[in-house]
Amino acid sequence: MALTQEEVLAGLAELVNDETGIATESVQLEKSFTDDLDIDSISMMTIVVNAEERFDVKIPDDEVKNLKTVKNAVDYIVGAQTQ
């Protein structure tokens, strides 16, 4: 069964925390990965790869550059799940 936006956000926040140490409650939908959370490209790719496994989705490399905010990523994952 597909996960809700809230469930994906919670799961993504755990992956961000695991990679960077950023508190899960700081991973909010409107936050920018680079500007607000200070996540570099290597950590971003690590999070993406871990998210693919966790949520059983594919996130093409070309798509990663469009994932500027946490909401972008959550929405993409929610959409990819239902396809």
Binding site: D18, E19, T20, G21, I42, M45, T46, V49, E52, E53
Partner: protein, 412 residues
């Protein structure tokens, strides 16, 4: 006269303890860091050698997780020991452009590389993490230390197998003498107790197979020694020009008085039977220290506990010191720590600095029946050094024919 180079900070994570003082105390107690390995892969792979000297404290227990996640375990050990050494040195106030790093590893991020290979084969390309290469590269530890301490003078890496971190100390000494920095963090790290390295060293019959008594397996100079014991960990030393250290009122452990680095050009793994490269390395270190062979009061030998290596080193030492070598207190500290490969030289130089400072040569354990062909002066108990000036050498020799020796002098 060239400026003196001194040691003002020490740090270690070793099979004897998670810090430099704990390692030193364990050494003086005569602890053995060697144990049977409890990993599933020991029995799954039915490895011939089932023991090693793992570090007593996992660095992931000390480092913050985000920092640890970006470092191979060898680099984690490096950073842990460097943080300790830096704090011990009193966190010197030095411009980033005057702080350098000379670090070493023998093998690099072998766990990262082989874990990634497993991941690639089991889960496919997509699951190979982007940090794989930056973690496995041999300069990762030097880079991590440089970033952690804002060291911008330089960040060099030496890889000369088991001579690596004595050579990195030699480089730090030379770089400071050349005026390239005021302070250098030098040392070496290794975490290569992996089934591949165990299998390979075992295949070349270099490892002890004493599975029935791991704690006593590393027994340099014993007549029944049967190979070395793999160790793990790191040691870091803060090296500094004496003027810089004095100006800030730093405590000084010892002077790095000289260093000798040579190459055998003989065989990829075997010792030159005449020990020519080793002899020259000792002589170069002493000449640079302005010391003669007669001045030497203590030797921390390479002494890995292999049948041929121990005798080869003794032969070289005898040629340098003559029969007086039988009177000099010698410590074969690998009897307790195992062999940290690229980390071993820095750890042993640290022990040597503490030995001359405290006038105490550490024990050599597990020698029940000393090889009559190697009549060096060793003891299962610490040996008191005399009240006079102390000049000690710490030797390291590595596959590839690398020889590195540092000469240390007490400051009293």
């Amino acid at each position: 006269m060239a400026e003196k180079i001194v040691i003002t900070g020490i740090g270690a994570s070793s099979p004897l303890g998670g810090t430099a003082p704990e390692s030193w105390e364990g050494l003086l107690r005569g602890d053995s860091g060697t144990h049977r390995l409890e990993h599933d892969w020991i029995d799954e792979l039915d490895l011939t050698v089932k023991f090693a000297a793992e570090a007593k404290v996992r660095p992931s227990e000390v480092l913050e997780r985000p920092k640890a996640k970006r470092l191979d375990i060898a680099s984690q050990f490096a950073v842990v020991s460097a943080i300790e050494a830096w704090a011990d040195a009193g966190s010197p106030d030095v411009a980033p452009e005057r702080l350098g790093v000379d670090y070493a590893t023998g093998i690099g991020g072998v766990w990262t590389l082989l874990d990634a290979w497993d991941t690639l084969r089991e889960k496919g390309e997509r699951r190979v993490m982007p940090m794989t290469v930056p973690m496995l590269m041999p300069n990762a530890a030097a880079a991590a230390i440089s970033m952690h301490f804002e060291a911008r003078a330089f960040a060099h890496t030496v890889a000369s197998a088991c001579a690596s971190s004595t050579e990195s100390l030699a480089n730090g000494f030379e770089h400071l003498r050349a005026g390239l920095a005021d302070v250098v963090i030098a040392g070496g790290a290794e975490s290569a107790i992996h089934p591949i390295t165990i299998a390979s060293f075992n295949s070349m019959q270099a490892l002890s197979r004493r599975n029935d008594s791991p704690e006593t397996a590393s027994r340099p100079y014993s007549v029944d020694r049967d190979g070395f014991v793999m160790g793990e960990g790191a040691a870091s030393l803060v090296l500094e020009t004496e003027s810089h250290a004095r100006a800030r009122g730093a405590k000084i452990y010892a002077e790095v008085a000289g260093a000798g680095v040579t190459a055998d050009s003989y065989h990829i793994t075997a010792n030159d039977p005449e020990g020519r490269g080793a002899i020259r390395a000792v002589e170069l270190a002493l000449a640079q220290a302005g010391a003669s062979a007669d001045d030497v009061t203590h030797i921390n030998a390479h002494a890995t506990s292999t049948p041929v290596g121990d005798i080869a080193e003794y032969t070289a030492l005898h040629k340098v010191f003559g029969d007086r070598v039988h009177e000099i207190p010698v410590s074969a500290t690998k009897s307790q720590t195992g062999h940290l490969l690229g980390g071993t030289g820095a750890l042993e130089a640290m022990f040597t600095a503490l030995a001359v400072m405290n006038r105490t040569a550490p024990p050599t354990i597990n020698v029940v029946d000393q090889d009559p062909a190697i009549p060096l002066r060793i003891s299962a108990q610490p040996i008191a050094l005399d009240n006079g000036p102390q000049v000690a050498i710490s030797n390291s020799f590595g596959f590839g024919g690398h020889n590195a020796v540092v000469a240390l002098r007490n400051m009293n």
